[in-house]
């Protein structure tokens, strides 16, 4: 590691810490600015409508103390920090007395299993389509590109609903919701795994379908730019084979695309929200959505904190990766 590199990363880390602290504060405050009292909602559900007012009052006092909502805002913030650092993130309001870490632990693997392959497949297909459209032109450029753009112009919920209506409601060949058959208990049996794969299709393709176009457009224009670069002509006149030159071109055109990939991986949890909600997929996005509807502050704060950390990590990783894959970035960053 050179001196310039050390200095660069030191500066980066300081900035990430500042961003992290700011995000921590916002993650705490923003949910609490939402209208509605979480305790009201819980007590309203757990107590029959004819209960005497004193009893209701008592219940509310109980929950307020349990959740620490009787403390001042700075006091609550300290609790939040403490819980964040001991890893539990406190207790969920809506699923009391379940720990937040428990809820997140149950959802995060579903989200990763759904999102990571979908993002990767969408990214790879998009880049291949963009590169081929730039190189071959014709059918690829005139037909497939507009079609993929059309799909990426559909909002996420739209694509999910369309797939749901066609394949589940009309054709009846795919399950409409959940990650596995409702009667099953998660285990490693073949019937369970095949049920998971079966339930996986619609949410997976709804994410892939809308992400192809956006990636393809970027890759196509970068490829066209690189195909016309001076080094292409020069390499040709040196007798280098076209197949080799095409490899130069697509490698260079891919470089900016890595940013898109890292950012979608970083914002995976937020991106999962729509597909998971529509298909009732038991992931983190779903947990976040139901937490928002019930003003479940600890769950909201924890999930948004995960998003923050993932985005920060992704952009930090990007800086490191670029230093290895693009000598221009390296030269510009570390001098």
């Amino acid at each position: 590691m050179t001196k310039g590199m050390k200095k660069y990363f030191k500066k980066k880390i300081i900035w990430f810490l500042i961003t992290f602290v700011a995000a921590l504060i916002l993650n705490f405050i923003l949910p609490r600015l939402m209208p509605g009292d979480p305790v009201n909602a819980i007590v309203g559900k757990s107590i029959s409508s004819g209960a005497p007012p004193e009893q209701v009052q008592q219940q509310m006092e109980f929950y307020r103390r349990q959740f620490g909502l009787d403390k001042s805002l700075p006091g609550q913030f300290l609790d939040f920090i403490k819980n964040a650092f001991n890893g539990t993130f406190g207790v969920s309001y809506s699923q009391y007395p379940r720990k937040v870490s428990d809820i997140i632990g149950g959802g995060i693997w579903w989200t990763i299993a759904l999102q990571l392959p979908a993002i990767l497949v969408g990214w790879i297909l998009g880049n291949v389509l963009g590169a081929v459209a730039a190189y071959k032109r014709g059918f690829w450029d005139k037909v497939l590109m507009p079609v993929s753009l059309f799909f990426s112009a559909i909002p996420a919920f739209g694509a999910a609903v369309i797939l749901l209506v066609i394949f589940s409601v009309n054709l009846g060949i795919a399950p409409a919701n959940g990650a596995y058959d409702p009667g099953m208990i998660p285990n490693f049996s073949w019937s369970f795994i095949s049920s998971v794969i079966w339930h996986y299709q619609l949410p997976f393709w709804s994410i892939v379908l809308i992400s192809i176009g956006g990636q393809a457009v970027g890759m196509r224009s970068m490829s066209i730019y690189e195909l016309n670069a001076d080094y292409v002509k020069y390499s040709r006149f040196l007798g280098i084979k076209d197949t080799k030159i095409v490899r130069y071109v697509f490698r260079n055109a891919m470089l900016p695309q890595v940013t898109g990939l890292a950012m979608s991986i970083g914002s995976m949890v937020g991106g999962a929200l729509v597909a998971e909600t529509i298909f009732s997929y038991p992931g983190l996005g779903m947990a976040m959505y139901s937490a928002i509807t019930q003003s479940d502050y600890p769950v909201i704060s924890a999930t948004t904190l995960i998003i923050t950390i993932m985005v920060l990590l992704a952009s930090f990783m990007l800086d490191i990766i670029y230093a290895f894959i693009d000598p221009r970035v390296k030269a510009a960053q570390f001098d």
């Binding site: 670069a229 001076d230 080094y231 002509k233 020069y234 390499s235 040709r236 006149f237 040196l238 007798g239 280098i240 084979k241 080799k244 130069y248 490698r251 260079n252 470089l255 894959i325 693009d326 000598p327 221009r328 030269a331």
Partner: protein
Amino acid sequence: MAKKMLEVRQLTTKYITRQREDVYSVDHVSLDIEEGKSLGIAGESGCGKSTLALSLMGYYFPPLHYTSGDIIIDGKNISGLDPDVVRKTVLGSEIAYIPQAAMNALNPTRKIGRFIEDVIRAHELPMDKKQIREMAEQRFALLGLPVDVLDKYSVELSGGMRQRVVIAVSTILNPKVLIADEPSSALDVSSQKMVIKMMKDMMAQGLVKSMIFITHELPLLYNVTDDIMVMYAGQIVERGSAKEMVFDPIHPYSRGLMNSILVPEEGTRDVKLTAIPGTPPNLKHPPSGCRFAERCRYATAACRFNPAAIIDFDIGRQYRCNMSVEKLREVYESEERNS
């Protein structure tokens, strides 16, 4: 007579535009260069000199297309050969190219040494990685370039160094013909000088057997090349030795070109610079007569209808004009007397 390294006969190439129009940017160009000699090609921008450089390579890709003519390198006609054969056996090894924008000619994500490896591999020479490396190191040392450049990316090099690296890479297979398209135009004066010196040295050492040097800077040609050719609207309008072309140009266009620049020689102090009025014709619809007639101060009505042919009028001298050499000389002399 010395061996001819490059002989070009009636080479014609065209651009096909997006509107499917043919633009003949190189129109029946013939030229030859003997072993150890260099030829300068001059002309204003858009005259087809860069296109000529591309066309001479014998390897065409859209929008440039080959139409007719022959390119004979050291007795071997490469026109009409299969493009892949040209790529493997001609490009880089028989004829090499130094691009106009050499600053960006190197792949930014490939180390110089690796790129040289790619070049050697493309010609299927029986050399392994280590041998290629040794050869590259020897060549860089011979040309006075630091050997550690081989382990660097082009972005890590200065502009002048990048240009010299490009020249070294282009000539690594000792080509018989080197075509340099304004290799120094983007450089500062001291880098320019270094690049020119490097190319002259390579000629002297026999690493390059002959050279075509394309530029719009005529004074540069006078110092670098043996002969000079002037192009106008895709055609050659005059050719002669560097000295003849600078001090005794015959064609009205070459004469205008020479009068519009300064050649640092004795007596320059009193020379008045004059510009050539007008702009070159659009080659989508070239004039049916002499292409320079529109801008020529000596043109007659007939010049606009009669195309001028290229004629040999002295040893190694050619010109393209409807007027005779004697007549032109007479006109120039009377002009000088009157001024």
